[in-house]
């Protein structure tokens, strides 16, 4: 399910804490050795190499190899661990954090990494209002930002306006080099800096790899950063691998074949690929890992935007449609009508699981399984609809509401994702069983985002977000003022009581440092979402991937995938 996922800022965040060392790795039988290359595939070309402004998941993954944050999330334990910062202290009230940076870190061009870079990244990039970055949403609490200051060359202090529970995890934010970017920012050109036409040697990070070559529509090559600071147990410099190649393979079927032919070392399987690759494990000398439900969600949502278009003075959604979409029973009926099992069977080849909660079961701690579940039942859905006066009055096969409006609406999704198209076709058919007339139109991703961001002229959408383990990083989706609050974004104040409650939960939970208490908040949030159904969740794919048996120190996990410890992986 690594097909183009909706490219939203959320995604970027969830790719931040990607690489973690784990010294107790059990595969020490072979001695690690240097050299070799790892070949991966990506579905699309990157649109930019700028990790602050780029919103794409695939770029996030690549840039995660080039840049690092102060902390990172361990791919196995999902705990936060030191990265560029070697230690930290926190004040009693939890608002003042002092980070002691590593002193042996150099940028890949040889310039030493210092506290100035951290301060620059936060104060002049993330908190710079001229730069469009979704990172700012994460580090803004109740409209207030952090204060970041340099205590000495290798000490940075963060002063938070309020307590901020996911702060340490948030410190996985990539740090960018001040010495290269300061001038760009002062000229106001950072938004389009590090585009695809940049000379790649100008993109300088502290990560284990650096960009070396980019052939549009063909490949992105990264080479080992010779200045990388991390060392293995024998005190040898990491990483072991010399080169990472991302092949641009737009067509997933071609990617499968390329994997089979040994041209790619790693492939994220769709359900339908499982029967192709699984039986060939031995013969092809690779292993297929199934690490359980993925984080990538698929959901249906209705437009509940109550605003008017400022230019035309017309409501974004006509009144009678808004009446349906804001009616809870309508959404519940829709939830009941979605045949999740068939979707799993057909679209995911049986390798998926139904999603009821806003969090993926793989999220672990914060996942709340005890939320309302909607079993597939057309009858029950029809009963619910009848209760709000929607049924087929004139026996023409299409239902009407009590004012006689036929239930007809558009359903959009992005046409690039074939799996989602198949899913949408099934849902469309399901909804037609309720007597709805659904005009299903696949749109290009650009058209879809413009509808979602600015024109708001849509009725229903099928979308996907990449989820994660930290609920707060979904802040801009769930806060009613968030611009990813897709069903009614950027609300001046919450339109409904349950949206108000979610706002409150998010603001409270982020300040609650006690994990268990925090969990209670987020449990409640998941209950509300399942109850009110702003997003009608459908199914989660399984996270399955195949990796060639040539890597040492490989330790795939549900959270980190196969290469969360890439710098430690070597080729046998």
């Amino acid at each position: 399910m690594k097909v183009i996922k909706t490219v939203f800022s959320l995604i970027l965040l969830l790719f931040l804490p990607f690489f973690i060392a784990h010294p107790e790795c059990a595969c020490a039988k072979n001695k690690p050795k240097y050299g070799g290359e790892l070949v991966l595939s990506t579905v699309t070309d990157p649109k930019s190499f700028n990790p602050i402004v780029s919103k794409e998941s695939n770029v996030g993954a690549i840039m995660g190899l080039v840049f690092e944050g102060l902390t990172r999330t361990n791919g196995v334990t999902t705990e936060v661990e030191p990265n560029l910062a070697q230690s930290w202290e926190v004040s009693e009230d939890g608002k003042v954090w002092t980070f002691h940076l590593r002193q042996d870190v150099n940028w890949s061009d040889g310039v030493p990494f210092t506290a100035a870079d951290v301060v620059f990244t936060f104060n002049q990039l993330i908190f710079n209002l001229d730069i469009e970055t979704s990172s700012r949403d994460v580090f803004t609490i109740e409209g207030k930002i952090f204060k970041v200051e340099e205590l000495d060359k290798f000490t940075v202090r963060f002063i938070l306006p309020v307590k901020f529970a996911p702060f340490l995890r948030g410190m996985g934010q990539e740090i960018l080099p001040k010495h290269l970017l300061e001038k760009v920012v002062s000229k106001g050109k950072f938004n389009y800096h590090w585009g695809l036409d940049t000379k790649l040697e100008d993109i300088v990070g502290t990560g284990p790899f650096m960009l070396s070559k980019y052939l549009p529509a063909e490949r992105i090559t990264l080479v080992k950063n010779p200045n990388y600071w991390r060392k293995d147990k024998q005190n040898k410099r990491l990483p072991y691998i010399d080169k990472i190649i991302y092949l641009v393979v737009q067509n997933q079927d071609v990617a499968v074949l390329k994997f089979e032919q040994g041209q790619i070392d790693y492939y994220g399987l769709r359900g339908q690929d499982y029967p192709i690759l699984k039986p060939k494990e031995k013969e092809g000398n690779f292993k297929v890992y199934n690490t359980g439900p993925d984080f990538g969600t698929n959901f249906l949502l209705f437009n509940q935007n109550r605003d008017k278009n400022k230019k035309t003075k017309k409501p974004y959604v006509s009144e009678y449609k808004l009446n349906w979409f804001t009616e809870l029973k309508f959404r519940k009926a829709v939830a009941c009508a979605i045949d999740k099992d068939s979707i799993i069977n057909i679209v995911m080849n049986g390798l998926g699981s139904r999603q009821d909660s806003a969090m993926s079961p793989s999220a672990g701690f914060f996942y709340n399984p005890n939320v309302e579940k909607y079993e597939y039942s057309i009858e029950k859905a029809k009963v619910l609809l009848k209760e709000i006066g929607i049924y087929d009055r004139d026996q023409d096969g299409i239902a009407e509401d009590d004012q006689g409006n036929k239930i007809e609406f558009n359903l959009f999704t992005n046409s690039e994702n074939t799996q989602r198209l198949a899913l949408a076709n099934i849902i469309k058919k399901d909804l037609e069983q309720l007597g709805f007339k659904v005009n299903f139109v696949p749109l290009s991703f650009n058209q879809l985002t413009s509808k979602l961001d600015s024109t708001f002229d849509w009725d229903a959408l099928i979308l996907g977000f990449t989820g994660g383990i930290e609920p707060h990083f979904g802040n801009n989706v769930w806060q009613s003022s968030g611009h990813l609050h897709a069903w009614y974004p950027k609300q001046p104040k919450p339109a409904t009581s349950w949206e108000a409650e979610i706002d409150k939960i998010f603001n409270q939970a982020v300040q609650e440092l006690d994990r268990d208490k925090r969990k209670q908040f987020y449990d409640r949030w998941q209950e509300i979402v399942a109850q009110e159904l702003p997003l009608i969740y459908t199914v989660l794919p399984q996270s399955i991937f195949a990796v060639r048996n040539k890597f040492g120190n490989l330790n795939p996990t549900p959270y980190g995938g196969a290469f969360h410890n890439l710098e430690e992986i070597y080729i046998k």
Binding site: Y274, S342, N345, I346, N349, F440, P442
Partner: protein
């Protein structure tokens, strides 16, 4: 006029001797009939799905029952499971026999768009399903969908070529009859259109129209695009005919008698180019069919749940999946057979009427 029709009759007689062309002709007649009566031939409606039988393999029709005796053909109910590798396997439930029924009752459909009917050529009781050529992802019968798809794919060729013919007759007739600047202008335009690679022109024209169109709208958009691409070829044929005919005695005589230009074009020039047009049309029809298929294959044409052969084939774009359900390539064979039949027929017609003519585009 009379002469041209008797020429046609002679042509048909000659054509009858053309073995392959006649085979092609009857194949086409069969295909078009099957499309017209798709509702009857197909055991299921094109959108009748059985989700639990995703990609069901072609149903086995048994003639020997479990006792080992011959019996009226029957099928078993099938259910789908996943094996350890998540391959779909289909298990027959041998306890119950579902005999193949002719003129079975099933989904209702309209004969020729008017008469409602629910009898199908064959079928089985609704507890079981018969998939002659397997099922698609949502357990819809490919056999049924192919015949329904034929309605779109086959008719687009005819409708498209008809529109092109009108355009071609109009512009070609004018061009050849009036000569001079009109002729030069029209022919330059034709040349330019013909020089642009068809696929690129098709994509450019397709981009004019929104992606969010209903299937009926899309059908007409495709027809318009294909006719636009196709008319210059026909116009050039007509022009050539018109140029040679306008010097012929009967046209000169008609003009001397003061018959109007339009009337001359309509009464003399067009009937005389009739046989050429038939050849030209039958040779260009494959272009329309292929164009529609290509667009639908890329997702720019007919959309699910409606079927067209290109649209049906788009599922096989997932090449790695093909080995699990190779039958979804069958619609491609239908396109192939149709195109081949039109080519053979056109070739036969060309032999009969005019040995030197080459028009039509290939995609």
């Amino acid at each position: 006029m009379k002469k041209s029709y008797s020429q046609l009759g002679k042509g048909i007689r000659k054509l009858k001797k053309h073995g392959l062309a006649m085979v092609a002709f009857w194949v086409l007649v069969g295909l078009y009939l099957s499309a017209i009566f798709a509702g009857f031939i197909a055991p299921y409606h094109y959108d009748n799905e059985q989700r639990s039988l995703s990609y069901a393999s072609p149903t086995k029709v048994h003639v020997i029952d479990q006792a080992g005796k011959f019996s009226w053909p029957f099928v078993h109910k099938v259910s789908q499971k996943f094996d350890q590798f998540y391959n779909r396997i289909y298990v027959e439930d041998k306890t119950e026999k579902y005999p193949l029924r002719f003129l079975a009752k099933g989904d209702s459909y309209y004969i020729l768009g008017m008469l409602k009917a629910n009898r199908h050529l064959f079928g089985v009781d609704s507890q079981a399903r018969i998939y002659f050529w397997g099922a698609d992802s949502r357990g819809r019968d490919l056999f049924s969908r192919i015949f329904y798809g034929g309605q779109v794919s086959l008719s687009i060729g005819l409708v498209g070529v008809t529109i092109s013919l009108f355009l071609g007759l109009f512009f070609g007739g004018i061009s050849g009859y009036f000569k001079g600047k009109t002729d030069t202008l029209i022919m330059r335009i034709c040349e330019i259109i013909m020089m642009i690679p068809g696929f690129y022109l098709m994509l450019s024209l397709r981009s004019i129209f929104s992606y969010s169109l209903s299937s009926l709208q899309l059908y007409f958009v495709i027809v318009c695009i294909m006719s636009f691409i196709g008319w210059p070829g026909l116009a050039r044929v007509v022009r050539g005919m018109a140029l040679s005919l306008r010097e012929r005695e009967f046209v000169l005589a008609a003009r001397a008698l003061g018959v109007s230009d339009i009337k001359i074009i309509w009464q003399h020039i067009i009937p005389h180019s009739f046989s050429y047009l038939i050849v030209a049309a039958s040779l260009s029809i494959p272009g329309y069919i292929l164009g529609e298929s290509a667009l639908s294959l890329l997702g720019l044409g007919i959309q699910d749940p409606y079927a067209s052969w290109g649209n049906l084939l788009s599922e096989s774009m997932a090449v790695s999946q093909l080995k699990f359900h190779p039958w979804i390539l069958i619609p491609g064979a239908f396109i192939f057979i149709t195109v081949m039949a039109f080519n053979l027929l056109g070739d036969g017609l060309r032999d009969v009427f005019d040995p030197k003519m080459d028009i039509g585009r290939k995609f």
